[in-house]
């Protein structure tokens, strides 16, 4: 196989999943490898960009379950097409097994616009 066209710009996937436990675990692992001199920060950034892509694609293709959430909305904000909601005592309902999860206190939602990451 010839070296195909370069992979599209790495900025075409949102970085928001980096804030998950999976993303922060990766970040910590990369940080240790940088500290110990095994990899350089440039390579770490490429790995994080790959994580953005892998996480976005896997979430879009593998998830099936639906749910609902009800809450008192204490703060809302829209900035650069990113919505932030701060919920007070939200209740999540899992539709597939009708489990209910209540969260005492505040819970923050950070949401990027669906389908527009590629346009950037």
């Amino acid at each position: 196989m010839s070296t195909a066209a370069p992979i599209p710009a790495q900025t075409s996937f949102y970085q928001l999943y980096r804030r998950s436990s999976l993303g922060s675990s990766l970040f910590e692992a990369l940080d240790e490898l940088i500290q110990s001199g095994h990899i350089n920060p440039q390579l770490a950034l490429k790995i994080l960009a790959q994580f953005d892509k892998s996480a976005s694609q896997t979430f879009a293709s593998q998830l099936k379950t639906k749910s609902t959430v009800k809450a008192h909305l204490s703060t809302y904000r829209l900035c650069d097409e990113v919505w932030t909601f701060i919920l007070q005592n939200p209740t999540f309902k899992l539709e597939n097994n009708s489990e209910t999860i209540t969260v005492p206190g505040k819970c923050k939602i950070v949401a990027c616009k669906a389908g527009s990451a590629d346009a950037k």
């Binding site: 922060s24 095994h38 979430f59 009800k70």
Partner: protein, 200 residues
């Protein structure tokens, strides 16, 4: 929304990332052992996070056995240290000093993230004068930021998702989210779609 799919989905993402950066490692001449170490270290951190039951995963299972998942996502007593739940600072099994070191390194990592974000905003402050002039206006914003820290700080309860629709009628909000991750009460849940109804 499901907690049970978390181990399989996380495993898919981890394998996908590792396989796709293999050529990058090759190109810059970093040996494969480093890539394997990256995966091992990543797996250990995820297994210790207790955000789901990783005991059935071939490589994360043995580590996860020492870090059983948090109790089911039922209402938990408010006295539980929720903020620390997803990030065990002191492993329950104190024998493995290497893991302890890893946890300490993680905190540095967090700081690095924040620094990076600051840098990312670019520019930096354009001068102290502006702050003084606008100090009255800035105050409410500072309060909002405090609110953020409280709700969405490290280990706090957080939902990360894409939004399809956000509608408001008077004080009633309807929000449609997709491809999201809910991190609450020390556990992770994933959903394809989530519709939210909020009252402001």
């Amino acid at each position: 929304m499901s907690n049970r799919v978390v181990p399989a989905v996380y495993r898919t993402i981890m394998n996908d990332v590792i396989e796709n950066v293999r050529t990058e490692f090759d190109e810059v001449g970093v040996e494969e052992a480093v890539l394997n170490e990256l995966l091992r270290s990543w797996e250990a951190k995820v297994a210790m996070s207790r955000v789901a039951d990783f005991s059935l995963d071939p490589t994360m299972g043995p580590i996860a056995a020492n870090f059983p998942p948090a109790p089911p996502g039922q209402p938990q007593p408010a006295v539980l240290p929720l903020n620390g739940a997803s990030r065990p600072s002191t492993p329950a099994v104190g024998s493995n000093t290497k893991l302890k070191g890893a946890a300490a390194g993680g905190e540095e990592g967090d700081k690095a993230v924040k620094d990076e974000k600051k840098d990312g905003n670019g520019g930096g402050a354009t001068g102290g004068d502006e702050d003084e002039i606008n100090s009255d206006l800035d105050d409410p914003e500072d309060d909002l930021d405090d609110d953020d820290e409280e709700a969405g700080g490290e280990g706090g309860d957080l939902v990360i998702a894409l939004y399809e629709k956000v509608q408001r009628v008077k004080n009633k909000w309807k929000v449609t989210l997709k491809d999201g991750l809910v991190s609450v009460n020390g556990k992770d849940y994933l959903f394809s779609k989530c519709s939210g109804e909020f009252e402001w």
